[in-house]
């Protein structure tokens, strides 16, 4: 847009160059555009228009991401606290039972509602609202109660009149156990933190207090720590390996370094599965590395080393896969450090080591921060490589989440584990943004 400025009192201005001071001054009121609007107002309007125009360009993509990415993840977060099984299957009973104080048995009216709701659920067989759904949900709370619900549901069809309490007790003696009713009351609530407790190796006891889970089921917290530990090891190894290479690339003449850069970028561009397959071929017991070690006599033929399908395999393969994410940011920072700084330090009497420690290393810190955080963030949520080469003990938290979503179908627990992982990653992402800035990300 073209702005033409018309001065009411041209005598006051000797030049057409305006600085900010002139505009913000009281004399700025004197500046009126050809259409009679003061310049200040016109400028504000134009700026606003430009801002909304820039914003408008991003709107399609933001909308797209909200629908395809933000809402799905939000829905998953919701699933981790949402507990619909009770109120879906037994709608009337779920409301009534909340009035029970947990002492003695629920009232006969509540028993009646329970029986009626169970019969209804069996009759309607709506997806997600069957007795089976409730049975599965109760089974998470009290293992072994699944069959109690399903068999009772079959037998209840004969029960047409009260007393319902006695009828239930006749069908199965287990209903006399008050623990079941207390847990049923909790399961009937719409929202619960039970899945977060499970994800943190805790549970509700029969009185509704929070206690540690049985030793046998305490697997999640230790797995979180294992994931953090392995990610830290992988990140450290990446840094150790990437540092000399990035330094070499940064001091070589551009043509040579471009050539060597291909050796870094080719793995980066090669399919993840290709690289994982290659590591299986190299590291397995009958693989290339073991064959070489046997042929030069370092290990005996029956003493072949198990290097894959365990943590070692996961670490080696993941270091290789994530290495470019460390080399690229380190390289781009090191390239900007003038070599004359080191020479200056040396000329002032610093030993090579001192010059490196006091001058060069501090200047590489932004690159180290960028690379370390990026690799750590990516490592902590890795799924494919551990699933293929991790064996039993190389599995990370992502694999447990996938197991609950795909195999055990305890979606709420999977969602709770996922939420904890997501929060961890987002915190790291926020730190990354503060320290490095996401707009500094680049590839080659």
């Amino acid at each position: 847009m073209r702005i033409s400025i018309h001065f009411r009192e041209p005598n006051h201005m000797t030049s057409t160059t305006l600085d900010q001071k002139d505009i913000s001054d009281a004399s700025a009121d004197a500046l009126i555009m050809v259409d009679g609007v003061p310049l200040k107002q016109k400028l504000a309007e134009t700026t606003k228009k430009q801002r909304s125009r820039a914003l408008l360009l991003t709107v399609p993509l933001v909308l797209f991401l909200v629908i395809s990415f933000v809402i799905p993840i939000g829905q998953m977060l919701f699933r981790s606290v949402h507990n619909p099984a009770g109120s879906n299957v037994l709608p009337n009973f779920a409301i009534a039972i909340q009035d029970w104080d947990g002492k003695g048995y629920p009232s006969e009216a509540m028993f009646e509602l329970f029986v009626k709701d169970m019969q209804n659920a069996r009759k309607k067989r709506e997806i997600g609202k069957t007795v089976g759904n409730l049975a599965t949900r109760m089974n998470y709370t009290i293992p072994g109660t699944r069959s109690l619900f399903t068999s009772t549901s079959r037998k209840l069809s004969k029960v047409t009149e009260g007393p319902y309490k006695e009828a239930l007790f006749k069908i199965d003696k287990k209903w006399e156990n008050k623990v079941i009713w207390r847990n049923l009351k909790r399961v009937s609530r719409d929202y619960t933190i039970a899945f977060y407790l499970a994800a943190l190796d805790h549970k509700f006891d029969d009185d509704g207090d929070i206690i540690a889970a049985d030793k046998l089921y305490q697997i999640y917290v230790s797995n979180f720590f294992k994931t953090l530990k392995l990610s830290a090891i992988i990140t450290f190894l990446c840094l150790l390996i990437a540092f000399p290479v990035s330094y070499l690339l940064s001091i070589l003449p551009l043509r040579t370094s471009n050539l060597l850069m291909i050796l870094v970028l080719l793995p980066f561009w090669t399919s993840l599965l290709v690289r994982t397959t290659a590591w299986i071929a190299i590291l397995q017991t009958q693989g290339i590395l073991n064959n070489i070690l046997v042929s030069i006599g370092l290990v005996s033929d029956d003493g072949r080393i198990q290097m894959i399908y365990n943590q070692t395999g996961t670490i080696i393969a993941m270091v290789h896969i994530l290495l470019p994410f460390m080399i690229l940011p380190l390289f781009s920072v090191m390239k900007t450090i003038p070599p004359s700084y080191m020479r200056a330090a040396r000329s002032m009497g610093a030993t090579p080591f001192t010059a490196y420690r006091r001058v060069y290393f501090p200047l590489t810190l932004p690159g180290i921060a960028a690379g370390t955080l990026l690799v750590f963030i990516l490592a902590i949520g890795y799924y494919i490589t551990p699933a293929l080469v991790g064996g039993e003990d190389g599995l990370l938290i992502s694999n447990l989440i996938a197991y609950h979503i795909k195999s055990s179908l305890n979606w709420s627990l999977g969602a709770a584990l996922g939420t904890i992982l997501l929060v961890t990653v987002l915190v790291l992402y926020w730190v990354y943004n503060k320290l490095v800035g996401i707009d500094k990300l680049s590839f080659g």
């Binding site: 993509l61 797209f64 399919s271 090579p352």
Partner: protein, 343 residues
Amino acid sequence: MNLKKHHIAFIIACALVLLITGRISVLIGFFALFGTPLFFMKELPPFASTLDRIWQYTFLTICTFIFVFLITPILIIIPLSFNVEPYFTFTEGMMSFDPAAYSLRWYQDIFHNGMTNPDAEGSAWYSDMWNNAQWVRAMRNSFFIAFFATILATSLGTLAALGLSRPEMPYRGLITGLLISPMIVPLVITATGMFFFYSDIGLAKTFPGVILAHTTLGIPFVIITVTATLSGFDQSLIRASQGMGANGWTTFRKVIMPLILPGMISGALFAFITSMDEVVAVIFLADVDQRTIPRQMFSGIREQISPTILAVATILVAISIVLLSVLEILRRRSERMRGLAPS
């Protein structure tokens, strides 16, 4: 003179290795590993001490080992894919370069696996291969999904990047953070969320569902590459163009577009390769009908590991080499256009 001394020492070392092991292949390996650093060694100033020289050689040797670590896994699968035996390792015959130990049977298997009648002739064979061969089907799916995901991600991403790189863009940090986040959020979480949501709206187990997922995952790469190109973009060119009477569309077509095209293409290539390589979302969202190459490889590695996977992997390596070359050419072109050509 000093370099000559190095060479003499190196030749002596090689002779020793040959004497001890008596194997040419070991010598070649030794020569490649410890000789490469000599190639990159710089002429040190005369006052450099022996310690400096040793340090430089050690440093370069370490770097050589790291480069070997980086590139070996990718190169090693190429010869392995020509193995005549169904093993994932080099056989005796392959080591002694016996032609009988090499074959193309695993490449043939790419086409034959899943065909109803691999011995048919002519057009019957082709239609059978095109419709029934598992790997061919996976490749068709992969390219189909990647093509549409790339187009969507590139067009939406470029538009947003244009907005983000304007100086007057409000909430820049927040929006950039949102647009980059699909790259940061663990894939399992993204895939899980999409699995639930897309199941509810009937997109799970369909091509559009997988395409949407891959578009989402490719967007950060487009944003990053295009904004990087635009960061060196001289905004006054837009005003100059407008000053000479061009309207918005003409300015975009004649001024902005040619300058950001290399960035757009490399962003598109990134989105393409991301989609071609993506497997987690496919595992969660796709049915047998939408199986892609990585999905097929994933189950191949888990269930029945056969060198056909290596043959497919070799083809994928070839594809990535082609894409990387295109990218490198584009980068050079872009540098030339912006006057940053290598000296």
